[in-house]
């Protein structure tokens, strides 16, 4: 157990040193899975890091390492940040889950925030966003706007998060347009702009005039613009460059408020380990401006839906809902529990195709 002793020794020494030198500066570390210039997932997390700096100014110091591979590399980077005296570390990818727990065990005084996972510890919180709430709004617009009644959906990797999004969008499209049909293409990658472009083109060629995407590049929007009469949505960031074209709205990852709140909690000494799963209401999921390409009445409905979800008055997964095989899932008025939603691995009734696994 020499290693642990050494580590604790170092931590103690550092703890003492840091209290002496910089009592007031809180150090916040970020481990990013992609480059901060990816224009999507990591870009938005980095924006939130900058929001912390802006909020707290001199009282905070942030550090980050980008493009950290999941697995041992991430564990090393987290350890390194903890050794260097970080008070709070955000680990922003699902694959960092076990490394985060491992490192947290060695540094009980450092607080960890792990995105999109399910394992917690006294000094590890989890947080994630209810993107499916935004998908409901998109689905509503898609169902209203499609003329061919074919909506194309570009899936990244078939995990619960993505499947939840498909279901939510489908339910709300179907509600306003019983004839709607979803065509789903899996690119099996989180990031491959060329493949996303191909996928979008294929969907458009097969008749889709609305494209929903769960991948982060603007390639599908560009394909939609080229096709002319096709609309799409921004994903992860607003993708405002396509506002005068196919982009009619967007889902924006807005981590800033949460990051600021958690940093403040560490400063105040009120930080506790809690699993957070926030949606439109607390502002973790932002709905980008709905453009004029959407008729005013549809826009009003979409905004009403957004408000209802935000206030908690309406839940996107409210029964009656059946699973794809026709078996009952939710009874009339029943609301899905978070456990089922978190591990969702089935399509709802009406979606065609099978989930790859």
């Amino acid at each position: 157990m020499k290693f642990t002793r050494l580590l604790t020794g170092a931590v103690l020494a550092l703890g003492l040193a840091s209290t002496a030198i910089a009592e007031e500066k809180t150090k916040v570390g970020f481990v990013f899975v992609g480059p901060i210039g990816d224009g999507g997932w990591t870009y938005e997390h980095n924006q939130a890091r900058l929001a912390i700096e802006k909020e707290f100014g001199d009282k905070v110091e942030t550090v980050y390492v980008e493009s950290v591979a999941e697995g041992p590399d991430s564990e090393r980077v987290m350890t390194q940040m903890a050794l260097k005296g970080a008070d709070l570390i955000f680990t922003t990818s699902f694959g960092y889950m076990d490394p985060t727990i491992n490192v947290a065990k060695k540094f009980p005084d450092v607080k960890f925030e792990h995105a999109t996972g399910y394992k917690t510890a006294p000094n590890v919180s989890t947080y994630s966003a209810r993107f499916y709430e935004g998908r409901a709004v998109q689905g509503h617009i898609a169902g209203k706007m499609t003329k061919s009644n074919i909506v194309g959906y570009i899936g990244s990797v078939p995990i619960p998060e993505v499947i939840r999004g498909i279901n939510s969008a489908y339910i709300h499209a179907k509600k306003v347009n019983p004839d709607v049909e979803f065509k789903i293409v899996w690119v099996f990658e989180w990031f491959n702009p060329a493949k996303e472009a191909d996928a979008a083109k294929v969907l458009i060629e097969q008749g889709a005039d609305v494209i929903l995407q769960h991948t982060d590049s603007t390639a599908p929007l560009a394909a939609a613009e080229e096709a002319g009469n096709v609309i799409g949505f921004g994903q992860a960031s607003d993708m405002a460059a396509y506002k005068d074209g196919p982009r009619v709205s967007s889902i924006i990852d807005n981590w800033g408020p949460y990051y600021i709140a958690r940093t403040r909690a560490v400063m105040d000494g009120t930080w506790e380990s809690v699993p957070t799963w926030d949606g439109i209401g607390p502002g973790m999921v932002g709905i980008g401006e709905i453009t004029d390409r959407v008729p005013a009445d549809v826009k009003a409905e979409a905004i009403a839906l957004k408000e209802a979800i935000a206030s908690g008055e309406y839940h996107p997964f409210t029964g009656p809902l059946n699973k794809q095989d026709g078996s009952a899932w939710l009874e009339d008025g029943e609301i899905a529990d978070d456990g089922t939603l978190l591990g969702m691995n089935f399509y709802v009734e009406g979606i065609e195709g099978t989930i790859p696994q």
Partner: protein, 306 residues
């Protein structure tokens, strides 16, 4: 399952677009390898071309200037490789891989302020009338001009290698550099020029991604296209015509598997996603009966002792 929703005409048209970046890069690498040099840095040169082309197109507002800039950028980067392998006589495999690493880093640094920017559109070669011909129109006459440039380049490379004196010298250098040297050909000069050409082509291939096919700039956006281009050269047994065939085959299977997915075909998606690679291997095995081999001096270091 609804196979009727797949439109073969549109499929053909979009595979031509999907194949263009790897076609351009592979043609360049073909010339490099025919000169006896193995440059594994295609990915690095492509991504450098992607950002150079993107940045210049955005700044000047002209995609054409962008593509020229991409070619220059790719060539400039390949100059590093040329210096290493032709003058410092470094190992080509390792130098190429180092070039990829270097190019990925360089492009990311250069592109920091271009994230989220939209490039100027590349003009379609919309020939009136011709583009409206049923079937043939959308396949043959309704693309952006780079698609035609790729096709023309295939023809030029093929003719150059086969019929011209320059092509003959290039091949001689690639087959046996000692003999070529003895005959008085400037081995190093020929190879440096070939490497520069390869860099320029890879750069344009990359720019096609960032300016036309995607179009946006993000770090690492080539996502392995350079490696596919390298594989294509081998696939083509170092023949220009077969590079085209290979690029269309690969692009075609990629687009087709997405089409099959969208049509709801009952094949597990994982296997569909593997199909472009498996089919490439399969076709190469079938073609292996034709025993064309690599240029004799491929990858070997040349030093004129006299």
């Amino acid at each position: 399952m609804d196979l009727s929703s797949i439109n073969p005409i549109l499929l053909l048209a979009s595979l031509m677009v999907a194949a263009t970046p790897i076609l351009l890069a592979a043609l360049g690498e073909l010339v490099v390898e025919r000169a006896g040099v193995l440059n594994l840095g295609v990915e690095g040169m492509m991504i450098t071309g992607a950002i150079c082309g993107f940045a210049i197109a955005v700044e000047t507002g002209s995609p054409v200037v962008g593509f020229i800039g991409a070619a220059l950028g790719g060539a400039l980067l390949s100059l590093l490789f040329a210096g290493l392998t032709q003058f410092a006589l470094a190992n080509q495999v390792a130098s190429g891989l180092a070039l990829t690493l270097f190019g990925l880093g360089l492009s990311a640094l250069l592109g920091q302020s271009y994230v989220g920017v939209k490039p100027p559109p590349t003009a379609k070669l919309d020939i009136p009338l011709l583009g409206d011909i049923p079937v043939l129109g959308p396949i043959v006459f309704a693309h952006d001009w780079m698609v035609y440039f790729g096709l023309a380049l295939t023809l030029v490379v093929w003719a150059l290698l086969k019929f011209t004196r320059a092509g003959l010298i290039l091949r001689a250098v690639g087959e046996n550099h000692d003999a070529a040297h003895a005959l008085g050909y400037k081995v190093v000069r020929v190879r440096v020029l070939a490497i520069l050409f390869g860099g320029a082509c890879a750069g344009m291939g990359g720019a096609y991604l960032s300016l036309v096919r995607v179009p946006q700039w993000t770090e690492g956006m080539t996502a392995g296209a350079g490696w596919i281009a390298l594989a294509l050269v081998v696939f083509a047994s170092w023949k220009a015509g077969r590079v085209l065939l290979g690029a269309y085959l690969f692009g075609g299977v990629t687009v087709l598997q997405l089409n099959l997915q969208a049509a709801g075909v009952d094949i597990p998606v994982e296997y569909l996603s593997m199909s472009p690679y498996l089919i490439t291997i399969l076709v190469l095995v079938i073609l292996s009966a034709d025993r064309s081999r690599a240029p004799g001096s491929l990858g070997r270091v040349f030093h004129a002792s006299s």
